[in-house]
């Protein structure tokens, strides 16, 4: 096929050097030439560069992602749209998705993080859903460095200011610290929205002749080639990319939320999409490809905020808070009126065509004409080599040494609670408005957050997180573990897990060791999602998370949504009443490989991470949901980093009254070394509490579902102590002290200088 387009006077000539600067390989450029039947214009080169970037085209990941389970009766919309949508019953549905904004945040933490939240909000309300929750998963290097503190403060402020201003509660997520994130922090934001099933709208252009309308902020020169920036490693030159980081305006975003939802409900529009990564180019091309139609846009009609902008710049700008709308022909005035009511600009910039062509004009001049399907659906696909790093395999194989004799286990607990990865994240989440919209039933700080669905008895539980450490040492097992942990977190609240979104943060996929991690982690995620009946509904792949110091830990972050049929049945993480029975659900096996305890004691990360028995993981989830539905549990809390001891400390420290607890783990430890029983990070253990008269019913339910259940103690101890016994070993600590360590760990590193000295005897 031949197409016709003309360079604009002043455009640079298309040289191999220019092609290289646009991130296209010689083979990819040949492909462009054969699609067009000629050399591309400068504008077309920019368009291909953006849409064929890793960020937009998933060149290296697509074949792997295809293996994800994506089906289920609960799935209303699977991958391929702006967000996945799950049915939650009674005609209600949730739209949810997670995305990374790692590279922008690495060079400009405040705006990078803020615009990450802005983008993910738009992905949700363009589905017709009202955003009801934001979550964020953040990874930084150790807080001992000024740079890391600067990054973390900027990112948290950026996430907070944006969501707070728009008025969407931020209810959860996780934060972890590892030196591998030092040169490349991770900023993953998730948004969850609520809609009625019949209000769902898809970003699919249709109806030749229908007008295409730009809504919201004017287009500037910010963020040009942001998608390409996201598709390369960070380097010393990355600082020069700062101007490519967009600037967010949450006030306009708030108006866009209201205007977009009103437009969708009005029936005047066919489709709506955020101008996100690769801006107008990707939004228009993707909407056209989904609908199997062509589009024609006159870039000269796009409202701009800077003078002398070229069509190249207008097409590739990533200015924030802009939407692209396909309206029904003849409804232009109605659309404009709704936008004006919300004080937003709008302009007709083109129309849908029936020739399947992606055409851009600049007034009378056609500056780009590309067959739409070739542009979007026929981007190159790579099947890179995958090979496990021998060094990592050796690290995994290293035996975990026996815990040192005579260790003061209480001091170990103190030091674990003081680790930023384990410690309370209150410093973070108190900067986020978690109660706006008055739906937050369980806020941040527990296993998963729970929101009520106004107008029904239902509630949804939401969580996001994932351990890069486990995935690093064993990508397949780690992939399983991140999904299983998300499911336990959701189920601990009593909610039934329904589905996931994922944000897959990895290094350079062209390196065999990195691609191996990616492929194996995805295989683990798939297997776990099948076992837990939580299909993948969408997500985001972020490759090239590398700095000169190397790749980040392979970090698939899982965002999960679950449903509670009766939100009043939700279960919190904290112990609540003196005399309640403490139960251990699941069987601890003392896995110290890759644990926080092991790195605390040895200063190194090694050993085989805990393995997940998926059948047992499913049974535990079912057991928690069944017990909550029968209102048998007072609290439930997942055992994760730091093991049972840390989980017990959290259950007591999160309780508003300093009740303390007395626990004897001797029987369930079954001969394990005390340190292994206390600090092992077995995947599949939950600490629960219930009224003493309910303990037998919980045990019955557990037995019926084949879940190990042991009564290990009771809530309340003299002087509000946490007292834990394993054989002859003892921990006794005032909860007030544990809470102080747990709560002070982040503030003392981020707000003050220096830090509390804890005895180093472990």
């Amino acid at each position: 096929m031949t197409t016709t387009a003309h360079p604009r006077p002043g455009d640079p000539p298309i040289t191999p050097e220019l092609v290289r600067q646009h991130g296209l390989t010689p083979a990819e450029f040949d492909r462009v030439r054969s699609i067009l039947g000629r050399a591309p214009t400068f504008v077309e080169l920019g368009i291909f560069s953006a849409l064929w970037s890793e960020h937009c085209a998933y060149k290296h990941s697509r074949p792997v992602l295809k293996a994800f389970p994506t089906q289920g009766p609960q799935v209303l919309q699977g991958p391929g749209e702006n967000a996945g949508v799950l049915r939650i019953g009674d005609g209600w549905a949730v739209a949810f998705k997670m995305e990374s904004h790692n590279h922008p945040s690495a060079v400009e933490p405040y705006q990078g993080a803020a615009t990450g939240v802005g983008g993910i909000l738009r992905d949700i309300f363009t589905m017709g859903a009202r955003p009801v929750a934001v979550l964020d998963s953040l990874r930084f290097g150790p807080l001992e460095s000024d740079r890391q503190r600067y990054l973390m403060k900027g990112v948290v402020r950026g996430v907070g200011d944006y969501g707070n201003c728009v008025g969407v509660p931020n209810v959860g997520g996780d934060v972890a610290f590892e030196s591998a994130y030092e040169g490349n922090p991770l900023v993953n934001a998730m948004c969850v929205g609520l809609l009625r099933e019949d209000e769902l709208i898809r970003a699919k252009a249709a109806g030749p002749g229908n007008p295409i309308i730009a809504v919201g902020s004017r287009t500037g020169r910010d963020g040009i080639h942001g998608a390409s920036f996201a598709s390369e490693e960070l380097s010393a030159r990355s600082e020069a990319r700062r101007p490519q980081v967009q600037v967010g305006d949450p006030f306009t975003e708030k108006l866009l939320v209201e205007a977009s939802l009103e437009l969708i409900r009005s029936g005047h529009i066919v489709a709506i999409q955020d101008m996100g990564a690769a801006g107008l180019t990707s939004s228009s091309a993707e909407m056209a490809a989904r609908g199997g139609v062509g589009v024609e846009i006159d870039a000269a009609l796009v409202p701009v905020r800077e003078t002398a902008m070229t069509p190249y710049e207008i097409l590739l700008s990533e200015s924030q808070e802009r939407m692209l709308v396909v309206a029904h022909r003849g409804r232009e005035r109605e659309v404009e009126a709704i936008c004006r009511k919300w004080e937003l600009g709008s302009a007709v910039i083109g129309h849908v065509t029936d020739d399947g062509m992606y055409r851009v004009r600049w007034g009378d001049l056609v500056v780009a004409e590309i067959p739409g399907r070739d542009l979007v659906d026929h981007a190159p696909v790579y099947h890179p080599e995958a090979r496990e790093s021998g060094e990592i395999a050796a690290r995994r194989a290293r035996a975990v040494p026996p815990p040192p004799a005579g260790q003061d286990l209480g001091q170990v607990l103190d030091r674990l609670l003081d680790l930023p990865t384990i410690a309370s994240k209150r410093w973070v989440y108190e900067q986020y408005d978690s109660s706006v919209q008055t739906n937050t039933v369980l806020g941040p700080g527990g296993d998963a957050a729970v929101l009520r669905v106004r107008g029904s008895s239902r509630g949804i539980a939401v969580t996001s997180g994932g351990s890069g450490r486990y995935v690093w040492l064993d990508p397949y097992e780690g992939g399983k573990a991140v999904v299983a942990e998300a499911a336990r977190n959701v189920a601990a609240t009593g909610a039934r897990p329904l589905g996931i979104t994922d944000c897959l943060n990895f290094g350079n996929p062209e390196k065999p060791e990195v691609f191996y991690q990616f492929r194996e982690a995805c295989r683990g995620i798939s297997d776990a999602c099948r076992a837990l009946d939580t299909p993948v509904t969408g997500g985001n792949v972020s490759f090239y998370n590398e700095s000169p110091a190397g790749a980040v830990l392979p970090t698939p972050v899982i965002g999960m949504v679950g449903v509670l049929d009766d939100v009043a049945a939700r279960v919190g993480a904290a112990f609540r009443s003196r005399g309640d029975a403490i139960l251990c659900l699941g069987r601890p096996a003392g896995s110290l490989g890759a644990s926080q305890y092991l790195s605390l004691v040895t200063g190194e990360v090694f050993g085989a991470p805990p393995r997940v028995d998926l059948a047992a993981a499913r049974a535990l989830v079912d057991c928690l949901v069944a017990c909550a539905a029968e209102r048998l549990l007072v609290s439930a809390h997942d055992v994760a980093e730091g093991g049972l001891a840390v989980a017990l400390a959290e259950c007591t420290a999160l309780s508003p009254d300093l009740l303390g607890a007395e626990v004897d783990l001797t029987a369930i430890a079954g001969g394990l070394d005390a340190a292994a029983a206390l600090f092992g990070e077995d995947q599949g253990v939950v600490v629960a509490s219930c009224r003493p008269e309910h303990a037998a019913r919980v045990a019955d339910t557990a037995r019926r579902l084949d879940v190990p259940c042991a009564a290990v103690g009771r809530v309340g101890a003299p002087e509000g102590d946490l007292r834990v016994k394993v054989g002859e070993a003892r921990i006794a600590r005032p909860v007030a002290q544990l809470r102080r360590i747990y709560e002070d760990a982040l503030p003392r590193r981020l707000d003050g200088a220096g830090g509390m000295q804890l005895a180093r005897s472990a």
Binding site: G160, N164, V166, E343, E430, S434, V436, T438, V441, R454
Partner: protein, 221 residues
């Protein structure tokens, strides 16, 4: 009882206030900021949010909105006006209440549940509470530190115009732990905490519900 909730561009607690008003049995309605007609409302609520983005200073632009002329007239007629969080900031900027809300002492946004003590029951919004009663409700703001000059503060205390005060921890460094105040006529009340977020026990506290259940007599109807 008719309660009008004003919506500025950027208001984001408008629906929450609306729901709390309805739950308290009132007939709730929205008033758009361009309107100068309060629709015959007995009570006006200025809700929380970031009106106009608050990029200059919270409330600095909103005070010029057309609706504020109607709000001022409503207040001058002795009828009840409640400003919550951003609404409190707007009322101070509009000089319907004395003092100002400055950046939090800790310089960061703070969202947490705080304890308040009711200092005055002589306003239409606190008539259902008793002096000394402790209330639990969330705060969520970046600019909530109440400041005024010493004579103003002394006068507020002397005239029993401090309505609620933080106890067991002041989240923003407000002078004299002031969380909410009223005007000379005692019909205009502003407070930083969010009573509309503490209007049902499912959400952790129902201590704020009574602020929306105004006695008919207090509303002047």
């Amino acid at each position: 009882m008719k309660i009008a909730v004003v919506r500025f561009p950027g208001s984001n607690c408008d629906a929450d206030a609306f729901a709390a008003a309805e739950a308290a049995g009132a007939e709730a309605s929205y008033v758009w900021h361009r309107s100068t007609d309060l629709g015959g409302a007995d009570v006006v609520v200025l809700p929380g949010g970031f009106c106009y983005g608050d990029y200059l200073r919270p409330g600095a632009i909103a005070r010029f909105s057309p609706v504020m002329r109607a709000v001022a007239a409503h207040a001058a007629a002795g009828r009840p006006v409640l400003g919550i969080c951003n609404g409190f900031q707007v009322l101070c900027e509009a000089q319907l209440l004395p003092g100002a809300l400055a950046r939090n002492g800790g310089l960061s946004f703070v969202c947490r549940t705080v304890t308040l003590r009711v200092e005055s029951d002589a306003t239409p919004f606190t008539a259902r509470y008793r002096v000394g009663q402790e209330l639990r409700m969330p705060v969520a703001h970046g600019d909530g530190r109440y400041v005024a000059d010493e004579p103003t503060l002394d006068r507020l205390e002397r005239e029993d115009r401090v309505v609620v005060r933080y106890v067991n921890g002041n989240p923003n460094g407000a002078m004299r732990d002031i969380a909410g105040i009223t005007n000379e006529g005692r019909n205009v009340v502003g407070l930083m905490p969010h009573p509309e977020r503490a209007a049902e026990s499912l959400l952790g506290s129902s201590d704020g519900a009574a602020m929306f259940a105004l006695a008919a007599v207090a509303a002047g109807v």
